[in-house]
Amino acid sequence: MEEFALIMRHEDGQKIASPEQIQAWMKQTMDWIGGIAAQNKFSSGTGLRFDDARVVKSNKTVTNGPFGEIKETIGGFIVVKADSIDEAVEFAKGCPVLQGEGNTMEVRRIAKGDNVH
């Protein structure tokens, strides 16, 4: 069993949706994570806040977002246990952020003592 990070990339919900809509997304996300945890495949995870964020550049200048050229950025991630990248991808497919056009899920194997990183 290996660990994979499922990284959510999406727009700042606060800018595009009502509080009720955000609450509905929240529930969907919690149900999605709960479903993975109910299979004993959840390791850890957290959401990342969009407000009061900073970007530090190579010349040490500090800016408040945007975080990249695209408006979708990292909104949070969870780490899951899976036998293969394909199984991890199946978990990612259930994530509610994918309902938003342009949003993506990035699936990455966690590097652990493999002397590569």
């Binding site: 529930k27 919690m30 945890a37 299979q39």
Partner: protein, 413 residues
């Protein structure tokens, strides 16, 4: 009270106090000596009271005899005495006589310290529970064997191995553990203590043992030991209150869970007038106290789930809240039981179709509750599949009451 009932009653309440105090005085590596002296005290009571009648103050009589027996033991066993005197030098007066302090305060302190000493990560959870039952609850070996559905030899072996381990580890049960330990240290040790108390309670609540009185006793003892933690301000923490609240909510349904023949009554079919509302109110009080911390433990989540179950009405708010609590609980700690209950809550909150898809992923095909759940979910959606799943559950169920409950569901289809 007649002597026949009095001695077992006193054994249950006083044996543990005498043992705890002696053990605190001698050090945990001499746990067996403490236990023997306490046992001999009761043997004397049995012999003496039979001929001379019950003394006016039986408890004071027991304490005096325990003190005398301890003094005699100390004066007769020079080697032991030297070891003890060496260890507890600071407690010994010039006359070099060990004071056996059986005051209420020292009894409570000793029991609290014994609780921390016994619930030590170096010994297995099973052994911790066994030792707690013996030393802190005054259970007989046969009662412990009964509760664990095993024989006396197994329990005796398990307990002596655990005592040996404690002796080797020389687990300290000095006041320093609690009074001078840092916050973090108390929290860490408390974690093990709470796990043991939680398991002790579950042993009573979920045990397949047929003896209802014994099972109820286990639950009550787990609650009493949790109360000891709440009586000391250093160990009276939000997680402890949360665990106690959980125990109150569960206990409130103790009578309603089984009918006269011992058959299980499922939550949905329980008669809520048989729930104990005094315990429910008490649970709500402690759950409220538990919310003062800044950390949400699994006990908080389980207590909140149990709280919502004290509302019988099927509202969408109830099941949505329970679902979210299970979602969080499973992130802290997975258990098949929580996974199944979460899926049931999901069916109530989001609908059966969604829950069936999730249930099929759970992969708990050894577990008869899993197939009972699938049977439940498929009922009225695909009754043929419902029946197949109930039949698999029936084949896997181990006890007669469980098989009867499943058979009823098949008949209802």
């Amino acid at each position: 009270m007649e002597q026949q009932q009095l001695i077992p009653h006193l054994f249950r309440t006083e044996f543990r106090k005498i043992t705890a105090v002696l053990c605190k005085t001698f050090g945990i590596e001499h746990l067996e000596i403490a236990e023997d002296l306490a046992s001999e005290t009761f043997l004397s009571a049995l012999e003496t009271w039979t001929y001379r009648g019950i003394p006016e103050n039986p408890v004071a009589w027991l304490y005096t005899v325990a003190k005398n027996k301890t003094r005699n033991y100390i004066s007769r066993n020079q080697v032991f005495t030297e070891k003890i005197i060496h260890q507890i030098k600071h407690d010994v007066t010039e006359s070099e006589e060990i004071a056996i302090d059986l005051s209420d305060k020292n009894i409570t302190d000793s029991q609290l310290q014994m609780l921390f000493a016994i619930c030590h990560p170096s010994i297995s959870a099973e052994a911790q529970i066994g030792l707690s039952l013996r030393i802190l609850c005054g259970f007989g070996i046969d009662e412990i064997a009964n509760a664990f559905l095993t024989n006396k030899e197994t329990i005796n072996k398990r307990l002596s191995r655990a005592k040996e381990k404690l002796r080797l580890e020389k687990v300290k049960i000095e006041p320093i553990d609690i009074e001078f330990a840092g916050d973090e240290e108390i929290n860490q040790r408390l974690e093990t203590v709470l796990t043991t108390l939680y398991l002790l309670f579950s042993e009573g609540y979920y045990s397949e043992c047929r003896d209802t009185v014994l099972r109820e006793d286990l639950c009550q003892e787990a609650m009493r030991l949790t109360e000891i933690l709440m009586e000391n301000q250093l160990t009276n923490r939000p997680t402890v209150n949360a665990l106690y609240a959980l125990m109150c909510f569960h206990s409130s349904r103790f009578d309603a869970r089984k009918d006269e023949t011992g058959e299980i009554i499922l939550y949905h079919d329980q008669d809520e007038t048989r729930w104990n509302y005094e315990l429910i109110t008490k649970g709500a009080y402690y759950l409220n106290l538990a919310s003062k911390g800044n950390r949400i433990s699994k006990y908080h989540l389980e207590a909140s789930i149990a709280y919502w179950h004290t509302h019988k009405a099927d509202t969408s708010e109830k099941w949505e809240t329970i679902l979210q609590l299970y979602n969080r609980l499973l992130q802290i700690e997975y258990s098949p039981f929580a996974a199944l209950n979460r899926t049931y809550a999901l069916s109530k909150a989001n609908g059966k179709q969604i829950a069936i898809v999730e249930a099929e992923k759970l992969n708990l095909t050894e577990n008869h509750f899993y197939f009972t759940l699938l049977g439940e979910l498929y009922t009225n959606i695909d009754d043929k599949k419902a029946k197949q799943n109930y039949e698999r559950a029936f084949a896997l169920a181990k006890t007669l009451p469980e098989k009867q409950t499943i058979q009823k569901k098949i008949d209802k289809l």
